[in-house]
């Protein structure tokens, strides 16, 4: 029998081999800001579990490498990810000297590479399984629950990132909700303004090029510069418009962050609305008029539903983009997860940076999966057939 290799599996196996045997699994530091010392899998784990993890990784890599049934690949990736997730916690308690509250254990490059390799395998399997939108959201929920359980169980409490969390539990949730409010709020504002603007651009050809150009230029202004540009006008508004300051409008803080995110969001919303409306089949528009629909009825009954999947794609872009960009808001006192990132950078405390970065990435990732599923659900029902 000829042995056949899986193309992606070769890459996965190579990464896993390097990560398991050559890269450090965990980092040990005497306190939170000194440079760390690397620990391999065998050093970081108790005598029995170390070899067990190695065995799981090697078996998983072999399954990935060879052409194997999807179910087996699915099982291998899930088992490997679960083992990594639990055992990094074990490494945390194992490496922490008893009674020492200053020592910090954090996952090192080998751990992250292994997570990356097996997530790649899992993603590949899920793609090949061609899951329905609901099933993909289901997978997301299961993954989120598993991570939530691990967090609640205290399995990871000995890891440095959770020690940082323990010190800042209150502000973590406060900044988190600010982050989400900023990202979602500016998205809602962008949709409220961008949709009508997009419709207007679609109807009035003269306006289209101009509006899209202006939005394109805004998009290219670096975020820090945009904040700077906003300080003066917002400061003026706060000082001169009665009631503005009471609403929280100021030159720095949440207001300019919100406005900046809103401005960045406009282009994708407007552009996708224009593209979506332009993609409505001519014959459908024609029939709508021929049947006696008013402009309004045609907009809401025909153009909008047909353009909806494209518009939703714009909203997806904006949401994912905003979740990432909202990190920058911390620079001008706007709050959000960025607060931890910039504090961490200032203190050269990598763990604190991660405390801000990891939830941001997770949020963006989840938002992308959910909206992709929604887009697919709306698009299949309303598949546009160009007759």
């Amino acid at each position: 029998m000829r042995i056949r290799f899986d193309k992606l599996g070769v890459v996965i196996a190579a990464i896993a081999a390097y990560a398991a045997f050559l890269a450090p699994f965990a980092t040990f530091r005497a306190n939170r800001i000194v440079p760390g010392e690397a620990r391999s899998i065998l050093e970081a784990l108790p005598a029995t579990t170390g070899p067990l993890l190695l065995a799981i990784v090697v078996a998983g890599a072999l399954i990935a490498l060879l052409k194997t049934p999807l179910v087996l690949r699915l099982a291998a990736s899930v088992v490997a990810l679960a083992a990594l997730a639990t055992l990094i916690g074990v490494a945390g308690s194992f490496l922490t000297p008893a009674g020492n509250t200053f020592a910090r254990i954090s996952p090192a490059s080998g751990f992250w590479l292994l997570i990356f390799a097996f997530t790649l395998l899992l993603a590949d399997v899920l793609t090949r399984l061609n899951l329905s939108p609901w099933a993909r959201v289901g997978v997301l929920v299961v993954a989120a629950l598993a991570i939530g359980l691990l967090l609640i169980s205290g399995q990871w409490n000995s890891l440095s990132i959770l020690k940082e969390y323990a010190n800042r539990a209150d502000s973590f949730w406060a900044e988190g909700s600010k982050h989400v409010t900023l990202a979602l709020g500016s998205l809602v504002a962008a949709v409220v303004v961008g949709l009508p603007l997009g419709i207007l651009c679609h109807r009035v050809e003269k306006l289209r090029a101009g509006a899209l150009n202006v939005l394109n230029i805004i998009q290219t202004i670096p975020s820090i510069a945009l904040f700077g540009l906003l300080i003066a006008p917002l400061g003026w508004v706060a000082a001169h418009v009665p009631g503005a300051a009471a609403l929280g409008i100021r030159g720095i803080g949440t207001a300019p962050a919100f406005v900046a995110l809103f401005l960045y969001s406009l282009l994708p919303v407007v552009a996708n609305t224009v593209v979506g409306l332009a993609g409505v089949p001519r014959a459908a528009n024609d029939a709508a008029r021929g049947m006696g629909m008013t402009d309004r009825q045609r907009l809401f009954g025909v153009e909008f539903p047909l353009a909806f999947p494209v518009i939703l794609t714009g909203i997806r872009i904006v949401l994912v983009q905003n979740i990432g960009l909202a990190t920058i808001a911390a620079l001008i006192g706007g709050g959000g997860f960025g607060v931890f990132v910039f504090q961490g950078v200032g203190q050269t405390a990598m763990d604190l940076v991660l405390l801000g970065a990891v939830p941001t990435v997770a949020l963006a990732f989840a938002a992308a999966i959910i909206l992709d599923a929604v887009i697919e659900m709306t698009a299949t029902k309303r598949r546009v057939e160009t007759a």
């Binding site: 014959a283 459908a284 024609d286 008029r289 021929g290 006696g292 025909v302 007759a387």
Partner: protein, 312 residues
């Protein structure tokens, strides 16, 4: 009654419809034929104001078609768009219900009407009603397009090549159904087609268009007998003329006294079919029976051949 008076449509410098005048009598079918790009669709779309004319006036039952809001006008005129133009995001049933919904009919009445039309066009309402247009064949889509145009029982029906995608059998059936509906409701129909056969069969009058101009507007027999120009002659198809002429008449009008052997042909069949049957079976005469099955007489090859000759 539809009166088209001096209608012209120009796009920039090109004249697409050139000073067309014609009157379509109530409860009749006018068929517009002409080469591709001759302005048929444009002329049709000026009637329901999807295209605004550059000059001229169109009256429906004496009223200028600009005297009411365009959307109200269009709701009162059935329109089967060229290439069906179904809404891809709406089911077949929803598509057919478009105008009744706009007119605010109640649910039960809409459902009854949709079911009636789907049954008429041989689409099972249970099976096809909930489907989306892309789940139908081209011919089925076209029938849904026609059903949608008929939904609100309009007095005036504009049809732009409604039967182009249908196979000959279903096409004949669809034409018969349309004729029956037209008779029953007294609908005034303007139908665009490329098919001369269809034009002769369906039209009370035929309008021939060439490069935006109305070249001839007359009864089918007259178009066949006295084509106004070489263009009309070519369009009618010189070699087909005698057969087209025969297809206009019924066997009962060509009955002669006497009897003949063999199976009788019904009196309401076309003379063309009778001649075809005679030639195919190698006989010189066929018996003719009335609707009640009683013998009416016979048709002969000689008699039919005389009728196929150019009228004096």
């Amino acid at each position: 009654m539809i009166e088209i008076e001096g209608i012209t449509k120009r796009y920039d410098a090109t004249t697409v419809v050139d000073d067309v005048s014609m009157v379509i009598e109530p409860r009749t079918i006018a068929v517009i034929v002409g080469t591709s790009g001759s302005g048929k669709t444009t002329l049709l779309r000026m009637i329901n104001r999807l295209v605004e004319p550059t000059a001229g006036i169109i009256r429906l039952d004496g009223n200028d078609n600009r005297s009411q809001p365009d959307y109200e006008l269009r709701r009162s005129i059935g329109y089967a768009i060229q290439g069906h133009g179904l809404f891809p995001h709406r089911t077949v049933a929803q598509n057919i219900a478009t105008v009744p919904v706009l007119l605010g009919w109640d649910k039960a009445r809409i459902k009854a009407r949709v079911d009636e039309l789907m049954t008429l066009y041989q689409l099972d309402p249970e099976a096809y009603g909930p489907r989306y247009p892309h789940e139908l064949s081209g011919g089925q889509q076209q029938r849904v397009g026609v059903a949608r145009a008929l939904a609100a029982e309009p007095n005036v029906l504009l049809m732009d090549e409604p039967f182009g995608a249908l196979d000959p059998i279903i096409r004949t059936k669809a034409q018969e159904d349309l004729l029956a509906i037209q008779k029953r409701f007294g609908t005034t129909i303007i139908l665009v087609t490329h098919d001369m056969e269809e034009a002769v069969r369906m039209g009370d009058k035929i309008a021939v268009m060439d490069a935006g101009k109305l070249v001839q507007y007359a009864k089918p027999a007259e178009i066949l007998a006295k084509p106004a120009s070489d263009f009309v002659e070519t369009l009618v198809g010189a070699s087909e003329k005698p057969f087209r002429l025969l297809s206009l008449g019924r066997v009962s009008d060509a009955v002669e006294k006497g009897t003949a052997e063999g199976e009788a042909i019904p009196g309401d069949a076309s003379q063309r079919d009778a001649l075809a049957e005679l030639l195919w079976s190698g006989r010189s005469a066929l018996p003719v029976k009335g609707e009640d099955g009683k013998p009416l007489g016979r048709v002969t090859v000689d008699g039919l051949v005389k009728r196929a000759a150019r009228p004096a």
